[in-house]
């Protein structure tokens, strides 16, 4: 992360900022190695204060002091027995910080009012920033890619174990719970999002919540699952059928897979997220089902399960090598069901490398 620091400092100086307060938990972990998680945005496990010159600080409370000291190599750990602001006052004065950036997208309005009062009393100028650290996280290095790949493969191992147990009569909720238990038993930190198991008509909702509906033969069953391993996330969707899928189902599977392959085959450094989305989407549109694919094609994955870059109609920026994205086209037919197929891939200079190996129901 030494390089990330050098880049942050250069970018702070370029904007004439003396320091940045880092509150977003994954940014905090990325820069410091400190793995504690916030109980909630208003129950923070700590804040980084990174000056444009001099050593960076990790500010936290006594509950986390040991963990902070052990994990945040290169950071001075300071405790705030009376809350963040008295300590911050001290450090802003000590380091003569006159222009302070903070993470506007992970800072409560109420806290920003307290910060504004402090800044006012010290004649410090505040600069709300969005995505400043996240930009550094877009391109993953080799160590990060290795972790992401392990998270992908563990997720597939869990899927395979559960897939073998699917039977008509088991409910969506039971299957989702078995998936999340198996993740933990196999060593995942936690699911990276709430597992989706959606069968029959429920599968027509892209973000269905697992219900007490029992699985039945012949219907599509969408399973969207991911886990966190060593801080990094995986995210995969498979759609399966118990028994023999009918012709309509097979035709739709092939269509969605064709769209997915079109997307994957177009992925490479330099192409925009918008263009990749369009290439995959046009496969579904040509089949007259464009209206049935109502979400973006994919999103970045890393320390957050949803991060940049987006593969959708809004992202005009070129992708870069080392970015990790999902490619997850779907078709959703009300009162019938849905099919979504999702793999993760690393963008490379010439093309991409798909991280998934599981082929269940992909080549129907």
């Amino acid at each position: 992360m030494r390089e990330a620091f050098a880049r942050i400092r250069r970018r702070l100086k370029r904007r004439q900022l003396d320091a940045i307060l880092v509150t977003q938990p994954e940014n905090r972990r990325y820069l410091s190695g400190y793995t504690a998680r916030d109980h909630a945005i208003n129950e923070s496990a700590g804040v980084l204060l990174i000056p444009s010159e001099g050593e960076p600080y990790l500010l936290t409370d006594s509950r986390f002091s040991l963990q902070a000291e052990q994990e945040a190599a290169g950071f001075r750990v300071k405790l705030y027995p009376r809350g963040l602001f008295p300590l911050l006052r001290l450090l802003l004065k000590r380091h003569r910080i006159k222009r302070l950036a903070f993470e506007s997208h992970y800072f409560l309005h109420s806290t920003s009012q307290t910060l504004a009062k402090l800044a006012d009393s010290l004649k410090v100028e505040l600069e709300p920033l969005t995505g400043f650290i996240e930009e550094l996280r877009l391109e993953k290095d080799a160590a990060e890619l290795a972790r992401i790949e392990r998270a992908v493969l563990l997720n597939e191992a869990v899927f395979q174990e559960i897939y073998r147990t699917l039977r008509p009569g088991r409910t969506e909720k039971e299957v989702a719970q078995a998936i999340e238990n198996t993740m933990r038993l196999k060593g995942a930190e936690r699911p990276s999002f709430e597992t989706i198991v959606a069968s029959g008509p429920n599968a027509a909702l892209p973000h269905a919540v697992p219900s007490d509906r029992p699985l039945a033969t012949g219907e599509t069953i969408v399973i969207d699952m991911g886990l966190v391993l060593d801080g990094y996330c995986s995210d995969m969707t498979r759609t399966v059928v118990l028994g023999t899928p009918d012709e309509k189902t097979v035709a739709l599977f092939r269509l969605v897979r064709k769209a997915q392959l079109a997307g994957l085959n177009s992925l490479r450094a330099g192409i925009s997220g918008m263009a990749v989305d369009k290439i995959a989407r046009s496969v579904i549109e040509r089949a007259g089902l464009g209206e049935r694919f109502g979400h973006g094609l994919g999103h970045g994955v890393g320390l957050n399960v949803h991060e940049g870059p987006s593969l959708n109609y809004r992202n005009r920026k070129p992708l870069a090598a080392g970015m990790v994205v999902t490619v997850e086209p779907g078709v959703y037919i009300p009162d019938w069901g849905g099919i979504r197929l999702e793999n993760m891939a690393v963008v490379e200079k010439e093309g991409c490398r798909v991280l998934n190996r599981d082929t269940t129901f992909l080549e129907l």
Copy 2:
């Protein structure tokens, strides 16, 4: 919740506010019955717009439309295909809202900037509020108390099942994981916070994270666990010893229990949170261990596992009947271990009702 609405409207009118935007997820659920959870503060499952007159709205996106319609009785569900703000513009104009409150403590600074622009263009005045809805949630009604009690009893059933399996050699992490799995298997929605299992010297940290340390005989093992059932939380701590506790351990157990009982015996409508904290704390102080009890005595529990009222040196307000609090004194001795005992109780007009029945290691 009809009564809560009437109270909100009265309070809005008193402050000459035309409407409030409710973003805090538990406030949203409390008022609307809508149970969807935010994936994160920046991935909201919906927002309430409650005018001081006329019907309230639930604003969400198409992923949640079905659930919103099913659950939020009395609310008009409106979808925002292009994000919250275009829809909000429409509604603010339609209802001629000129003074709009929002929840400053659950509103990102970055979102508040977008809201400020919208308000500016419509000449709407914004009023950031904190705790406006939370205040209504402090005093629980009979239906809420029944749910909380069920969450407490289920938590105890999980504890008992795990307690029987504790053996020297099992690690803290294994036990914590078994607890959380058992919660789900027994029907809990999820743990209400990350389970603490801290043994030996780790038990000297009030907020220890479960480690790979194996349990050993004779040491104190602090188990702090809670679950969510039907939206409501439980929170309980037991400290146990494998084998026979030595004299020091027994003496400290008795001291902490005495402090807990002193706190519980003082709980009643009209006493302040500060006074209850002081009464329990003085038991530990008189034993010369005041410095070893470094946190507040307790906190409110409801839809959030940490909510008002606080039992600590800052809360001068009188408690009221129907409030639910934890009473959790502890002593923490560096390099030795710690003991914390936590029960939940409902404040009543004359005294309190302890919700816990489990007595494991309480009457040593």
